[in-house]
Amino acid sequence: MPGRGGVSDGRKDTTMASSDIILDIRDVTKSFGPVTALKSMQLQVRRGRVHTILGENGAGKSTLMKILAGVYQPTSGSIVLDGTPYAPADPQEAARAGLTIVFQELSLCNNLTVAENILATREPATAGFINDRALVAKAAALVGELHLPVDVTQQVGDLSVAQRQLVEIAKGLSIEAKVVILDEPTSSLSDSEAEILFGIIEKLKRRGVAVIYISHRMEEIMRLSDDITVVRDGSYIATRESQDTTIEELIALMVGRDMNEIYPARDVAVPAGTPVLEVKGLSRDSEFENISFDVRAGEILGFFGLVGSGRSEVMNTLFGIKRASAGHVAIDGAAVAIASPADAIVKGIAFVTENRKEEGLVLSHSVSSNISMVGLKKFSNLFGFLRQGREREAANDEVARLAIKTASLETQAGALSGGNQQKIVLAKWLLTRPKILILDEPTRGVDVGAKFEIYKIIRKLAAEGTAILLISSELPEVIGMSDRIAVMHEGRLSATLSGTDRTPEKIMTFATGSTS
């Protein structure tokens, strides 16, 4: 499409009544010493509309959001909120000015109840004593208004990740705001829970609240947004109305190159043969029941299910974190007993878990120390001494092979972007040359460019003969990547679909239990 790439063409300005604009960001730059994180950023957000900011990780979205939240101060440029200059010195001031931000990183206290979290620092109290009944009532009213399936007297620590995310959103929305920023709110939600969120967003729009939305899920963005602004490398690239654009155009703007297909095609046929992994009648009390499936070498078996369907629990049991109450597991035709992750690893299983920050990485440690973590024995001599030269070499190879972007091998893993962190988790497992690779939400919180690279890596591993279990909450991902799809519903395997049966409609039917 000639004339639509690159820079702002300004055609929105004519249609946009200036009184409509609640937040006006012009020429904002932000430098950290010699590094420029934002270059002349532009953003005009209108009342009662959802404005998505789209960009790869590291494109400058987070910096911009932190400026809006009062965490950073811009180096230059102007921001006007509702007709008055806006320069908050801290997050409290931003909140008072009418700007609420719901962060992607969960900021809840697990030891407190839902109600205590939602109304944290704003508890109803007399003379310093908290009025518990009023607290619960107020929180329950808020949660009820949003139709959240959460009991406000429950401890946050007992909730699932998805429920916590919903509580986080409820907390953000409990403050009357003119502008609400949602930073990847659906990254840990299943489709049905995301629907609840979309309902909430509709309500906010009707109230005239402007919503700034950040997400990597293209289908969701197209459906939800009124306006979409693309940023790349800290610069403003373009703004489009969602009805005037396509996913392909947005991706091209975002990555600065064309990406014809999001899911790389399988170029090798699935080899026939005996299964590498056979699971029969696997059960665990009150979590899942009678799960049976098999995977062949080189095959990608997708696992789809709504949050709470028991997918992750099955994988945790398979990996020896939890004990099965019944069932058999066989690898290469031989029955195996797996009582611990160490056992599973010896048997050739690798497990990229759902939460890379909690179970995947030691964030305070170096890239190389994280990569060598599972295969540590390989880098030891007879007396248990670490061969640091070899360790560095192997880490270097993986960094090159998976194109991990890091300043050095000594960089802290926590300093890297989500996509690169995920690649480190992949790298540490690939060093063990697994026969069976379990991937639980491998692209969560990962930008589109890195997503595509991860998909290519998965394809390549399958082509090399690795049996892969791919668990995902994203339907397009499961359909795009898997050869067969196992669908779970409330702890049971409701169907295994292959070939042309792998349609979104069929999968959702089985996942929601709409069939008997």
Binding site: I345, E359, V362, M373, L376, G384
Partner: protein
């Protein structure tokens, strides 16, 4: 050329890591030298090292435990138990070598109990070791009904009083144990596993590290180090005392934390702990030479620890 460059780089890194506490140590030495000229002498330096040896060795063990994000409050009691076990061995007519072996074994078993209760019953180590601190302290008095037991075995008492190649044996022991712990922590996969588990227990577990076994082993190391401290202390005192090593766990924790070990786990080195122990030793020695009353010493020690840790934290924050 490249050798000196590498040496310079290593020097820079060491200064960055330990600059704060080395500065504190230097400042203490300067202050004490100004007030008392006898402080800066080889004889007194060896004296400080001897005095600090019991704390330093216990602190090496404590560093392992804290590195894992745990704590061991029972080491002061284990120090006393070790002395008493040694003394009783001689009462029963055992020789020097079996006495040493049994004492070390006792330390290992007491550590095994701490580790097993922490790892297998999943009790917080703070609670477990508060309890065993009392239990072990009580056990010390069982053989003698609370009376001290004299130790006359010439080999045992030689540990604390004799020299080897002109240097007190006790300092040789500290040096050997420092090297052992330093190498085990920084050069082996065992040490790496401790760092990984302390940094993120879940990630370590999912990566196939046998976290429970590691935890138990480390509590055993802590127990053995405390038992060695107990041997040194009893040999210097020529006796096993039921109140030996009271509150030494706090000095050991202070030494580790002064040396940069993070109570959150995952961060710390033996070099840092050794420097931390030296700060405590220099303070004790300097104030003793000035005849500062004991209660003033406690106040000053507490304040110095606060200032040193604050300086260290501040310099590290500034670098980030």
């Amino acid at each position: 050329m490249s050798n000196t460059n590498a040496a310079n780089a290593a020097m820079m890194r060491a200064m960055k890591q330990y600059g704060g506490i080395l500065l504190s140590l230097a400042m203490l030495c300067v202050i004490f030298s100004v007030v008392n000229p006898r402080f800066m002498s080889v004889a007194n330096f060896l004296n400080v090292l001897q005095q600090v040896s019991v704390i330093a060795i216990a602190a090496f063990g404590m560093t392992w435990v804290i590195l894992l994000g745990e704590i061991d409050l029972s080491i002061g009691s284990i120090i006393a138990v070790a002395g008493m076990v040694g003394a009783q061995c001689f009462v029963f007519g055992l020789g020097f070598a079996p006495a040493i072996a049994l004492t070390l074994l006792t330390g290992a078993v007491l550590g095994l109990i701490n580790g097993t209760l922490t790892a297998k019953l999943m009790l917080p180590s703070f609670i477990v070791t508060v309890a065993t601190m009392g239990i072990y302290r009580g056990l010390v008095s069982l053989p003698t009904n609370g009376a001290p037991e004299m130790i006359t075995d010439p080999n045992w008492t030689a540990i604390g009083t004799d020299n080897f190649l002109g240097v007190p044996i006790i300092i040789w022991i500290v040096a050997v144990l420092f090297l052992f712990n330093h190498i085990l922590l920084s050069k082996t996969i065992f040490g790496r596993r401790a760092y990984l588990t302390g940094g993120n227990r879940e990630a370590a577990l999912y990566s196939g590290i046998k976290v429970d076994r590691l935890k138990i082993t480390i509590f055993m190391i802590s127990g053995i180090m405390a038992a060695i401290s107990g041997i040194l202390l009893s040999s210097r005192l020529f006796s096993a005392q039921t109140n030996a090593g009271v509150s030494y766990e706090l000095d050991a924790i202070a030494a580790a934390v002064l040396g940069g070990t993070s109570l959150a786990g995952g961060v710390g080195t033996m070099v840092g702990t050794l420097i931390g122990a030296l700060i405590i030793g220099v303070m004790n020695n300097g104030m003793n030479m000035l005849s500062v009353p004991y209660f003033y010493q406690l106040i000053v020690k507490g304040l110095v620890i606060l200032v040193a840790v604050w300086l260290d934290v501040r310099s590290k924050r500034a670098k980030q």
